[in-house]
C-alpha cells in the first residue's frame, strides 16, 4: 500500500528530471546518432535583400565527403511549398510565401538558399564555401515607419505593400465600453507617449536541431521544438506527408521561451532531403546561425494616449501599435501583438478603449513569440504610461494605480475588452510587496539623496501587472482566427503492478512537467509520487496534444490530467463495488483506497488495477481496463497578477544602473510545486530585466545583424543580475478544479516596466521622461545630460529608422 496521506500538491518536490541532466545522460537532438546518418549544412544569404541570379553548386558537389547539394529549386521545383502561418489575423492579411530555401530572392540576411549533405558536419560546412552565388542587390527595407512611407521600396513586390495587416479593437464598436474619441474630447487630463519595444533574441541555450529517419514505416523526426504535435500536423499539411506516416519526437529540449514554437524551413528541408536520399539526416545549427535564422521577438512602436479626470480616475486608453514582422510571417507571428490587445487595460477600470495594430514587413529576421508574446509589450505600455500620468497629475504612482484597479470584492470582473477576470487581489499582493520592499523607507532615502544631490540617485519603479494566459478556450481562439484549438490531452494508464504512466500533450522543455504532473496524479489517485512516470514529447506515445506555450501547460494540460484521473477513479469504483460486494454509492475514495462507508472493508487502487488486469472477476459488461483519456478545453484564460517593485541606483556621472532591490509578489493561485514556481519567476525576471537593461538585436543600415553573437548580444550573466526577493499571495482561480494560474511568463511580463519606471524615477529630476530600452549607461548618461530623450525619434535622423536602431542608441 502506497497511499499518500500528506497532499503532494503544494509540496516542494525536487525534480525528477534532474537526474539525467546533472550527470550528462541527456538526449538533446544533437546527441542523437543513427546508422548511416548524414549531416546537413545550410548556405545562408549574407545580404538582407537581393535577387539570386545564379547558384553554382558544381564544385561543392565534388568536395570530399559530399553526398548531395540542393538548392531551393531542387527541393521544390514548382515553388509551391510555403511555410505555414497559423494565425491569419484579418481576412485580408497579406502573406508572402516563405520557401524552404530561397530560390528567386533572399529577403533577410540569414535566409537559407542551399543545403549540403555530407558524411560529416565538418565536410558539409567545408563544402558550403565552394558554392558560388551571384546576387543582385535589391533596396533594403528597414525600420517600421520607413517601410510604411509612400515611396518605400517593397520587401515583397508581389504583395504591392509592406503592410501585413491592420487589426482593430474598439470598445464602443464591440459594445464592451464607450468611445475613446469621446473620452479624449472631454478629458480633463490627457497624456500621450511613444514607447519603443526593441527587438530581442529568445536565446534558448540549446541551438535548434533536427534529425529525420525515413527508414521505417513512419518517418521519424526528432526536433528541438516546443511543439512536436503542431509540428507533426503542420509538416504533414505543408509537405503532403500523410499524417499517420509521420512521428515527431521532442527529446530533451534545451529551453524555448517561444523561440522554439516555429515550424521551421530547416525542419521541412530535413524531411525533404531524408526522403530524397532514403537516409537519416541531421541538421544542427551554430549559435551564429540561430541568431540570424531563428525568429526574434518584440519590435514594436507604441503610441499611447491616456485620459483621466483631475482626481486621477482614468477615462480612456488609446493604443496604436506598429509591429515589425520581419521578412515573413512566423507560425503565429502576426498574432503576437494581438495577444497584447486585451492586456493594455490591464488591472484598471477603463471605460473606453481603442487598440489598433499595423503589422509591417521589413528585410529582417522574422519575429514571433518570445516569452510573454504581446503581453510584455502591453504591460510595458500601460505601466509606463500610468507613471507618466501620475507625474502629470502630481499623484503618487501607487495611489494612482490603486484608485483605478479592480477591487478584490469586484471579481469576477468583465473588462473593457470583454474578458472576464475570474479572481484576484491586487490590494493583498501590493501590501505584501510594499512591506518586503520597505517602500516608505526607500522613498525617504530617495528624497534625502535628491536633497543632498548625491551623484548616485535612487529610483523606485512599480509594475502592478496582470496577464491572460493558459492559452486557451478554443472558441476564443476561433473568434481570433487562430489556426488551432486550445485544448490539451492527457491519458492515464494503470499498469498491472499498480504503477502509473501519465501521457501528456504538453511537451516540456525545462519546466518540470514530469515532477508536477506526478504530484497531481499522486494526489488524485492516492499513489506514490515515485510510482508515476510522465511520458511526453513523442507523438507515438503522446498522440494528441497542443504543446507548451502561453503558460498553458498546467492550467490546460494539468487539468486534463485531473480529468483523466477522475475517469480512472470512476472506472475503478465500479470494479471496487463489485469486489467489495456493495453499491457504488457506499464507497468512499480517499488516499488511494475505496472503503465501504462505516466499515473497514477496503480495496486500494493498485488492487483494483490488478483485478482489471487479471479480468477474472469483473462485473458484466465492464471492460478490463482502468486506462482513461481526457481532452480538456478550458472555459476561460487564467489571470495571474502581481506587484513588482524595483529600486535602482543610477550613477548620474556614468549612467550606470544598478538594481538595488527587486521584490515581486505574484498571485498565481494555488501552487503545485513552490520551488518550480520560484524558478519560473526567477528566470522570467531575468529575461524581463535583460530587456530593460541589456539586450537588443541591432541591424546596420544594410540589414546585417550586428548583435549576431553572444559577444555582441548581451545575455546577462550571473554578475549582471541581482538577488530577487519573491513571494506570493494565493487567490485561487475559479476557472479550474486545482485553482491554478499560469506562471511561465509572469516574471518577464511584469519586470521590464518596473525596471524602466525605476530608472526614469531616478532621473526625472533632470527633465527625463523616457529612455529607450535597453537602458545602457550611454543612453542613461545622455538622457541626464540632455533632458528628455524622445522615444519617438525612431525613424528620423541619420542612422535612424532601422528597425531596432535609433539615432541615439543603436549598438552603444
Amino acid at each position: 500500500m502506497t497511499a499518500t496521506v500528506e497532499p503532494e500538491i503544494g509540496k516542494a518536490r525536487l525534480r525528477k528530471e534532474d537526474a539525467r541532466l546533472i550527470t550528462g545522460s541527456t538526449r538533446w537532438t544533437d546527441n542523437l546518432s543513427l546508422p548511416g546518418m548524414l549531416h546537413l549544412a545550410v548556405l545562408r544569404s549574407p545580404f538582407a535583400h537581393a535577387k539570386i541570379v545564379s547558384v553554382d553548386t558544381s564544385a561543392a558537389k565534388t568536395a570530399p565527403g559530399v553526398i548531395a547539394v540542393y538548392t531551393g529549386k531542387d527541393l521544390d521545383p514548382e515553388s509551391t511549398i510555403g511555410m505555414p502561418c497559423a494565425w491569419p489575423i484579418t481576412p485580408d492579411m497579406k502573406s508572402p510565401r516563405r520557401p524552404v530555401l530561397a530560390s528567386d530572392t533572399v529577403n533577410f540576411a540569414g535566409e537559407g538558399l542551399a543545403v549540403v549533405v555530407a558524411r560529416t558536419s565538418a565536410e558539409a560546412h567545408d563544402a558550403l564555401e565552394s558554392i558560388d552565388v551571384e546576387y543582385e542587390d535589391l533596396p533594403v527595407v528597414l525600420g517600421i515607419e520607413n517601410a510604411l512611407a509612400e515611396d518605400s521600396p517593397l520587401v515583397h513586390e508581389e504583395l504591392g505593400t509592406n503592410r501585413n495587416a491592420l487589426w482593430v479593437f474598439d470598445s464602443a464598436e464591440a459594445g464592451t465600453g464607450s468611445s475613446v474619441e469621446d473620452a479624449i474630447a472631454n478629458a480633463e487630463v490627457t497624456v500621450k507617449r511613444r514607447f519603443r519595444q526593441q527587438r530581442l533574441v529568445p536565446a534558448f541555450m540549446e541551438p535548434r536541431a533536427c534529425v529525420v529517419d525515413p527508414t521505417s514505416t513512419q518517418i521519424t523526426m526528432w526536433a528541438a521544438t516546443q511543439v512536436p504535435h503542431i509540428l507533426k500536423t503542420m509538416a504533414s499539411l505543408t509537405l503532403g506527408i500523410p499524417e499517420h506516416k509521420l512521428r515527431v519526437i521532442a527529446p530533451d529540449v534545451g529551453g524555448g521561451f517561444g523561440g522554439k514554437i516555429g515550424v521551421l524551413p530547416e525542419e521541412m528541408m530535413c524531411l525533404l532531403v531524408a526522403q530524397k536520399l532514403g537516409k537519416p539526416v541531421k541538421w544542427n545549427e551554430s549559435r551564429s546561425e540561430t541568431m540570424v535564422a531563428a525568429h526574434h521577438g518584440r519590435d514594436q512602436i507604441q503610441d499611447i494616449t491616456i485620459t483621466a479626470k483631475r482626481d486621477g480616475t482614468v477615462t480612456g486608453l488609446k493604443v496604436e501599435l506598429l509591429a515589425d514582422m520581419g521578412a515573413y510571417l512566423g507560425l503565429v507571428g502576426p498574432g503576437v501583438p494581438i495577444l497584447g490587445a486585451f492586456m493594455f487595460n490591464s488591472i484598471y477600470k477603463f471605460p473606453a478603449y481603442h487598440f489598433a495594430c499595423t503589422n509591417v514587413f521589413t528585410n529582417t529576421t522574422l519575429t514571433d513569440a518570445y516569452r510573454g508574446a504581446g503581453r510584455p509589450e502591453a504591460t510595458f505600455g500601460i505601466e509606463r504610461i500610468m507613471d507618466e500620468l501620475a507625474v502629470e497629475l502630481g499623484m503618487e504612482p501607487l495611489e494612482l494605480r490603486e484608485k483605478n484597479w479592480i477591487k478584490h470584492e469586484e471579481f469576477p470582473f468583465t473588462t473593457v475588452c470583454g474578458l472576464t477576470y475570474d479572481s484576484g487581489n491586487y490590494e493583498a499582493a501590493t501590501a505584501k510587496a510594499k512591506e518586503l520592499f520597505d517602500y516608505d523607507g526607500l522613498r525617504r532615502e530617495q528624497a534625502e539623496r535628491r536633497a543632498s544631490k548625491d551623484p548616485v540617485q535612487l529610483g523606485i519603479g512599480i509594475s502592478t501587472f496582470t496577464e491572460m494566459c493558459g492559452l486557451a478556450p478554443s472558441r476564443v481562439l476561433g473568434s481570433l482566427a487562430y489556426g488551432a484549438g486550445g485544448w490539451e490531452h492527457a491519458q492515464i494508464r494503470m499498469l498491472a503492478t499498480g504503477k502509473v504512466e501519465v501521457v501528456t500533450g504538453a511537451s516540456a522543455h525545462g519546466q518540470g512537467h514530469e515532477t508536477a504532473w506526478s504530484q497531481i496524479v499522486a494526489d488524485q489517485l492516492g499513489v506514490a509520487f515515485e510510482d508515476v512516470e510522465v511520458l511526453h514529447g513523442d507523438t507515438q506515445s503522446s498522440h494528441k496534444g497542443l504543446d507548451t506555450y502561453g503558460s498553458r501547460s498546467l492550467v490546460v494540460g494539468g487539468i486534463a490530467v485531473v480529468k483523466a484521473a477522475e475517469k480512472v477513479i470512476a472506472k475503478a469504483r465500479v470494479i471496487a463495488a463489485h469486489l467489495l460486494e456493495c453499491a457504488e454509492d457506499d464507497l468512499e475514495f480517499k488516499n488511494g483506497n475505496f472503503t465501504v462507508k462505516g466499515t473497514e472493508a477496503a480495496k486500494n487502487i493498485a488492487e483494483i488495477a490488478f483485478a482489471a488486469f487479471m479480468a477474472h472477476d469483473l462485473p458484466d459488461g465492464v471492460e478490463p481496463s482502468l486506462d482513461s483519456d481526457a481532452t480538456y478545453d478550458p472555459e476561460n484564460f487564467s489571470f495571474p497578477h502581481g506587484t513588482h517593485l524595483c529600486a535602482t541606483e543610477v550613477d548620474t556621472e556614468t549612467g550606470r544602473v544598478t538594481i538595488r532591490s527587486y521584490v515581486c509578489v505574484d498571485d498565481i493561485g494555488s501552487v503545485v510545486n513552490p520551488i518550480i514556481v520560484e524558478g519560473q519567476v526567477h528566470g522570467g525576471l531575468a529575461q524581463g530585466i535583460a530587456q530593460a537593461l541589456y539586450e537588443e538585436a541591432v541591424y546596420d543600415e544594410s540589414g546585417t545583424l550586428q548583435s549576431g553573437t553572444f559577444a555582441d548580444y548581451l545575455l546577462p550573466s550571473a554578475v549582471d543580475l541581482p538577488h530577487f526577493v519573491t513571494d506570493r499571495t494565493e487567490t485561487p482561480a475559479t476557472s479550474n478544479p486545482l485553482g491554478v494560474k499560469g506562471v511561465g511568463e509572469a516574471g518577464t511580463i511584469a519586470s521590464t516596466p518596473a525596471v524602466v519606471n525605476s530608472v526614469i524615477d531616478a532621473v526625472r529630476q533632470f527633465g527625463v521622461d523616457d529612455i529607450e530600452m535597453p537602458l545602457s549607461p550611454m543612453r542613461v548618461w545622455h538622457a541626464i545630460q540632455h533632458g528628455t530623450t524622445d522615444a519617438g525619434d525612431v525613424a528620423t535622423g541619420a542612422g535612424g529608422g532601422l528597425g531596432s536602431i535609433d539615432s541615439a542608441g543603436g549598438a552603444q
Partner: protein, 172 residues
C-alpha cells in the same frame, strides 16, 4: 595526427584532424555527448570541462592540445553511482531547468570551489560569469554553489573525505 587523451578515467587513442576542437572530439569521436555546444564564440561556457584539473571551455581548446592530458567531463563526476556534491547541490537547490547549461555550470562551479572553498554570493556570481543560463536567473545556481561549499567544507565528514579523488574537487 594521433593523440591520446584520458577522459573520465578511460584512455582513448585516436587520429584527429589538427583543426578539431576538443569539444567535437569528445562528442563526435568519444561519444561524450554530456558535454554540449551552446555557442561558437566561447561566450556561453556550456562546453566547460576540466583539463588536467582546471576548467576550460572545450570549444576553445584543440583536441591536439589535450594530447597526454586528463579530461574530466560531467559524465565522469559521479563515483560508484554517488553524485558529486556539486551535482547533488544543483538538484537540491533547483539550480537547473532545461539543463543545457548545467554540465558546464557544474564543471565551472567545481573549479570555482577549488580556488575558493567558501565563496560569498559575489564571488560565486563573478566566478560563473563565463557561463550563461537562460532559465534560472542564476539565483538558485548561486545558492547551489554555496550549499555545495558548505557540504564540502573541511571536516564535513566522510562526504568531504571522498572528494580527494575528484579532479578539482577542492575542499581542503
Amino acid at each position: 595526427m594521433r593523440i591520446t587523451v584520458n577522459v573520465d578515467g578511460t584512455s582513448y587513442s585516436d587520429e584527429v584532424e589538427p583543426r578539431t576542437l576538443l569539444v567535437h572530439h569528445l562528442r563526435e569521436k568519444l561519444g561524450k555527448v554530456g558535454t554540449v555546444v551552446g555557442c561558437d564564440t566561447s561566450n556561453c561556457g556550456a562546453c566547460t570541462v576540466h583539463l588536467d584539473g582546471q576548467s576550460v571551455k572545450s570549444c576553445s581548446v584543440l583536441a591536439v592540445q589535450a594530447d597526454g592530458c586528463e579530461v574530466t567531463t560531467v559524465e565522469g563526476l559521479a563515483r560508484d553511482g554517488e553524485l558529486h556534491p556539486v551535482q547533488k547541490a544543483f538538484h537540491d537547490n533547483h539550480a537547473l531547468q532545461c539543463g543545457f547549461c548545467t554540465p558546464g555550470m557544474i564543471m565551472q562551479s567545481i573549479d570555482l570551489l577549488a580556488d575558493n572553498p567558501d565563496p560569498d554570493e559575489k564571488a560565486v556570481r563573478e566566478g560563473l560569469e563565463g557561463n550563461l543560463c537562460r532559465c534560472t536567473g542564476y539565483q538558485n545556481i548561486v545558492k547551489a554553489v554555496r550549499d555545495a561549499a558548505h557540504q564540502m567544507r573541511p571536516g564535513a565528514g566522510p562526504e568531504a573525505e571522498r572528494l580527494g579523488s575528484h579532479v578539482g574537487g577542492g575542499g581542503e
